[in-house]
């Protein structure tokens, strides 16, 4: 498959070719690649894309997944509207 035609991160429009270029540029950890390309920083917060990037990076570097600085999961579990934190949902 042409890496320029494979979308790895749909939220932030990151292609497989972008990931491969970053790895070629010397990046060896997911936390840095995330901030370089914004992969995993959109609405899915990496739930869909980061496992794919991790696999590509592990394959390219020979490192184990637990050696890649896999970004931690943080709240909320899913995107949630700000009004949910107001006491009546519609507070002035």
């Amino acid at each position: 498959m042409d890496p320029e035609k494979v979308v790895v991160c749909r939220c932030e429009d990151v292609l497989l070719s972008d990931i491969l270029k970053a790895i070629e540029g010397g990046y060896r950890d997911l936390e840095s690649i995330k901030r370089l390309l914004r992969v995993g920083m959109g609405s899915c917060q990496g739930r869909h894309c980061l496992p794919i990037v991790a696999r590509v990076l592990a394959k390219a570097t020979g490192l184990r997944i637990d050696e890649l600085n896999y970004p931690p999961s943080r709240p909320p579990l899913m995107p949630i509207q700000i009004k949910c934190f107001l006491s009546d949902g519609n507070e002035e």
């Binding site: 840095s32 901030r35 370089l36 709240p75 995107p79 700000i82 009004k83 107001l86």
Partner: protein, 371 residues
């Protein structure tokens, strides 16, 4: 050798390189992984001490240079301090005149001007605001990733996943650092490791008055540009900034004890949501994507500890930025490079910020802190 690969450590390495000195950075996790990547991204000189203003005026000049030299996103989009109480307005009038005397162009503005700077804001609870047009914001991601790449290209070392274990001294002089990757010899060692600085110096029987205070922030999905300045609600110690990418980054102070483990707290989400949806009702509909915690490594006078340590030749500290480390990192890098290569900083106000001020009782005052 520099311990800590955050914005501070990287900028020290960067300005040392400008003086022809190649350094080694030991970073425990990955560059930016401490406070830098968790910060609010704001940059301002609107402080209330000569020391902060001098360091930040220089930093702001250097941020412009870094934009050109490294391609770091940086913009002078201003700060807007919202004031809703008479006593705050009175206090800020004195801060503004102090800032103006020291070359920081802040001014008190009326509500129509607030509306012009943030068109969707509801101003009914406000008295006035202070606008700082010299302030702005930058991308911590760009600063770390671009300076890291640049340093490595020029022959400096940035060791990732290497933990400094112990500083070795002999006859009052630094010999080097014992790390998880072996001994690294160096005649000059800079501790730019945030709260880890305190732990490292403890093993040399030096106590450093820095306390890590947990802080909270969340970020929403991205919107089109709605306002440029970083906005502070002074009475609730809260801020909101729209990032370069369009997301809203929100912080708000809730009671926390120094040294406590930072936990996710509904109290924070409730307070921050209440404060900012009052000013921006449309924000009720915005989706929150991520909530994280970090620290303000706070000193008794909210000023950093930068400079050498008395009686320990070759050992330097740059830590305790009390929430202002990222914004200050370029001028701190320059000051530390001066200390190391010339034995004295060119910014004279920085002389007041070494460790000895605590022993000598020369604390510096700062009133304009929030978040």
């Amino acid at each position: 050798m520099i311990i800590g690969g955050g914005s501070t450590g990287l900028m020290i390495s960067y300005y040392l390189l400008k003086k022809g000195v190649k350094s080694v950075i030991a970073e425990r996790k990955y560059p930016g992984s401490g406070n830098t990547y968790k910060c609010a991204t704001g940059i301002r000189a609107s402080f209330t001490s000569r020391e902060h203003i001098a360091l930040m005026k220089r930093a702001i000049e250097l941020w412009s240079e870094l934009k050109d030299e490294l391609g770091v996103f940086y913009e002078r989009s201003g700060y807007l301090w919202l004031l809703s109480r008479e006593e705050d307005l009175r206090a800020f009038k004195t801060y503004v005149s102090f800032q103006n005397e020291h070359g920081v162009p802040t001014k008190v503005i009326d509500l129509s001007e607030v509306k012009r700077l943030a068109p969707t804001i509801v101003t009914k609870d406000l008295l006035a605001a202070v606008h700082d047009p010299l302030a702005g914001k930058a991308s911590p991601f760009d600063l770390v990733l671009q300076s890291w790449r640049f340093l490595v290209e020029k022959g400096c070392k940035v060791l990732m996943g290497v933990e400094a274990k112990k500083i070795l001294m002999s006859g009052g002089k630094v010999l080097g650092v014992e790390t998880s990757a072996g001994f690294i010899e160096s005649r000059a060692v800079v501790l730019a490791a945030a709260y880890d600085t305190v732990k490292m110096l403890k093993s040399l029987n030096i106590s450093v008055p820095i306390e890590p205070v947990p802080k909270h922030a969340f970020i929403t999905e991205a919107y089109r540009d709605l306002f440029k300045p970083l906005i502070i609600d002074w009475s609730t110690s809260s801020y909101v900034v729209q990032t370069h990418h369009g997301n809203f980054l929100v912080g708000s102070e809730i009671p926390e004890k120094p040294g406590d483990k930072p936990l996710s707290r509904l109290e924070f989400l409730r307070k921050a949501s209440k404060v900012w949806t009052k000013y921006f009702p449309w924000m009720k509909e915005a989706y929150l994507l991520r909530y994280w915690t970090g620290y303000y490594d706070t000193t008794p006078d909210h000023h950093p500890i930068i400079g050498p340590l008395d009686g320990l030749e070759g050992l330097y500290v740059a830590a305790g930025f009390s929430g202002h480390g990222f914004m200050m990192s370029p001028s701190v890098g320059e000051v530390m490079a001066d200390w190391i290569t010339e034995g004295r900083p060119k910014i004279l106000e920085a002389l007041n910020l070494s460790m000895s001020r605590f022993r000598e009782g020369r604390l510096v005052k700062e009133a304009a802190v929030f978040g």
